[in-house]
């Protein structure tokens, strides 16, 4: 685990990319094997409609997992994303419901502010007060959930305006795709577009900006990074703030899709987000991982959920399967580390 202690930040991110590529290639291969397998077992799996469904169902978790990737890269973790998503979604819903709702953008901003606040609190606890990330975000998980119930007195907030729900249930294009499946029409739901946009932006940030390199540096070896002059505390706070913002975004989309602000929404969503990150090859010890890996990891989870549902596999067994895959992915990760 401390194999990288003597390397400088620049070398680290280059190794990071190489190691990540080999890991990534394996995941992509596994993903296609999985899809192929499921499409053999159920001929309804491989259709435009189902594939779009999988992407849509993966979007919210994918957005949460993207923020989680940044945090995990800094050798942290964010257990609060599920609660923050619910909190932000509920607050946003409170601005967008009833007979005279606020304009959608105000509601969305309100939700994002909630995410920013929670993320900032997490970041400050971890970076400035040296609270271990697990503990800090565990506390936030509880606090945010409690605040969510307090905010609406435990009641759901239904009746949301169409413009607000657009983020969750809107559809952008509609074009027939005769080359794929005859009469099928390709409808791209907005959540998918938002998800892909988030991934693209984070990819750019992590790979093409100085801040991105700093993230890898801080996660790889905080001390070396500090010695090299990087403001490690600021980087870490930023990572948690981004995670909070993306959790809020996920929550807003979730609320739009559900049509109701539900205080009990998002429970245990952090587990699927962490699973996506881990399966995607990002190491829990920081410094290693890619956003594209998380994308594939999230897709794998989405495919498993969808595929097993289609096959009529009991949800009890689905949980076992998911757990095995997560552990398997981590074993892979530690095997790769010990090979160095």
């Amino acid at each position: 685990m401390s194999a990288d202690s003597s390397t400088s930040p620049i070398k680290l991110s280059r190794w990071g990319t190489l190691g990540a590529l080999s890991q990534q290639y394996g995941i992509v291969l596994a993903f296609f094997v999985l899809c192929g397998f499921l499409s053999v077992l159920n001929n309804n799996f491989y259709s435009i409609g189902n594939l779009v469904n999988i992407l849509k169902q993966t979007s919210i978790n994918g957005i949460l997992a993207s923020g989680m990737t940044l945090v995990v890269l800094t050798r942290g973790i964010d257990l609060s994303v599920g609660s923050v998503a619910a909190y932000a979604g509920l607050v946003a819903a409170s601005f967008a419901h009833g007979t005279s709702p606020q304009p959608a953008w105000i509601a969305v901003c309100a939700g994002l502010v909630v995410g920013l606040g929670c993320g900032l609190a997490n970041g400050l606890l971890v970076a400035r007060l040296a609270v271990p990330p697990f503990v800090a975000t565990l506390g936030m998980l509880s606090v945010a959930r409690g605040l969510t119930f307090i905010y609406s007195d435990g009641q759901p907030i239904p009746d949301l305006s169409k413009s607000f729900s657009y983020l969750g249930e809107g559809i952008l294009f509609q074009c027939p795709v005769p080359w794929f499946d005859g009469q099928e029409v390709l409808r791209v739901p907005i959540p998918i577009l938002i998800f892909l946009l988030v991934v693209a932006v984070l990819w750019f940030v992590l790979n093409k900006t100085t801040f991105g390199r700093y993230i890898y540096a801080v996660g790889g070896n905080e001390r070396s990074a500090k010695t090299a002059g990087i403001g490690t505390k600021k980087v870490m706070v930023a990572a948690y703030v981004i995670s909070g913002l993306l959790a809020a975004l996920g929550g807003i989309i979730l609320t739009g899709r559900t049509g109701s602000g539900l205080p009990q929404a998002g429970q245990s969503y952090e587990l699927d987000a962490i699973a996506a990150v881990v399966i995607g090859g990002t190491s829990l010890s920081g410094g290693v991982g890619t956003i594209s890996g998380t994308l594939v990891g999230a897709l794998i989870i989405g495919v498993i959920n969808n595929g097993l549902d289609l096959l009529g596999v009991s949800s009890y067994y689905q949980q076992v399967v998911k757990g095995c895959i997560i552990v398997g992915a981590v074993l892979l990760d530690s095997a790769r580390h010990s090979r160095e």
Binding site: Q57, S315, G328, L331, A335
Partner: protein, 338 residues
């Protein structure tokens, strides 16, 4: 490479184990999706088991796929998307949330898939039919049972289901109706324990401490929570006889508790709600020529006639569990689980 295959082998093996490798030889069975809100507690497990025992499923006329909503409205919504894409012939819906469920029904309606509601309600007039039990009535019945045991005076606490689910909303209505009718009865606390025995245990423990010696009646909106309250009382070393406790559902542990004189309960017929829903779904798909196959229609011929499968609402009667009928009910339960 070896590692990766080894990693995924258990998963592949698991998938193989649960795949129907042989396709149905004759005409394709009717695809029915059952979207249940969650399978962690006994009532929905009984419901699901009863659904799978329906004659139409056993004969291969219908193929039922159960989608576990994991107590999450978003998950149920996602599953509806899957059902629509997969072109299911009909959906039986037990929603977790009365409002969020309306969206799901709307989507299915647009895709021209009939949705039959069962057990819990949804705020939508797009349902083809609904079969369930009147929760306001059962809320009132259980509260009245507790209050009359209390001599219609004293303090009660009410343990609620998940806020926003129709059963919670309506049983609360019934509970409050009964309590408000008794001027000498006061409600000390009313909080949710989300249908969970464990949560209700903790809640009751806390209440026993904060309202020491003041609680007489405990109204649990379902059996699991009432059972949790009973455990809390036992663990606190208090005398169970000093309390009057009621639940709803008639799950097995509750039937046993009624037999021991620890609580009262009202049986909710999961069997009728599940199998009745399937008959209604098949009628929606096959039309008026379809005759219902479940024995429940004979069982409830008086209280809930088939009426050609055309009614919008089917009310499954409640069966209060008493010392007289509990043995027979327990025997029925054992039979149904064979």
């Amino acid at each position: 490479m070896r590692f990766r295959i080894g990693t995924f082998a258990p998963m592949l093996a698991a998938l193989c184990g649960f795949t129907p490798l042989v396709h149905a030889a004759n005409d394709k069975p009717i695809k029915i999706a059952a979207a249940v809100y969650g399978l962690k507690a006994e009532f929905m497990q009984l419901w699901t088991a009863a659904l799978n025992k329906h004659p139409a499923v056993k004969s291969g006329l219908a193929k039922v796929t159960v989608f576990d909503g994991k107590y999450d409205a978003n998950t149920q919504n996602d599953q509806f998307d899957t059902m629509i894409t997969q072109k299911y012939d009909a959906i039986i819906f037990v929603p977790i949330d009365i409002q969020a469920g309306a969206k799901a029904v709307e989507k299915a309606n647009e895709a021209k898939i009939p949705v039959i509601g069962s057990n819990t309600r949804v705020n939508s007039d797009l349902l083809t039919a609904y079969i369930g039990s009147n929760d306001v009535l059962s809320g009132k019945m259980e509260a009245e049972a507790v209050l009359s045991k209390m001599g219609n005076k004293g303090n009660v606490v009410i343990i609620e289901g998940p806020i926003g689910q129709s059963a919670q909303i309506e049983r609360r209505k019934g509970n409050l109706e009964a309590v408000k009718a008794q001027p000498d009865v006061k409600i000390l606390e009313m909080k949710t324990a989300n249908w969970s025995r464990a949560e209700a245990l903790t809640l009751t423990e806390d209440w026993l401490t904060s309202h020491k010696g003041q609680i007489k009646g405990i109204i649990g909106q379902n059996d699991e929570m009432a059972l949790g309250a009973i455990q809390a009382i036992k663990q606190a070393g208090l005398n169970l006889g000093d309390f009057d406790i009621a639940g709803i559902d008639g799950v097995t542990d509750a039937l046993l508790a009624v037999k021991r004189g620890e609580m009262t309960s009202i049986l909710q017929d999961a069997n009728a709600q599940a199998q009745g829903a399937l008959d209604l779904a098949l009628h929606a798909v096959l039309g008026d020529s379809y005759q219902p196959q479940s024995p429940i229609w004979q069982q409830y011929a008086q209280g809930m006639p088939w009426n050609g499968g055309k009614d919008k609402v089917y009310n499954v009667p409640w069966t209060p569990v008493t010392a007289e009928n509990v043995d027979a009910l327990l025997k029925d339960r054992q039979e149904s689980q064979k």
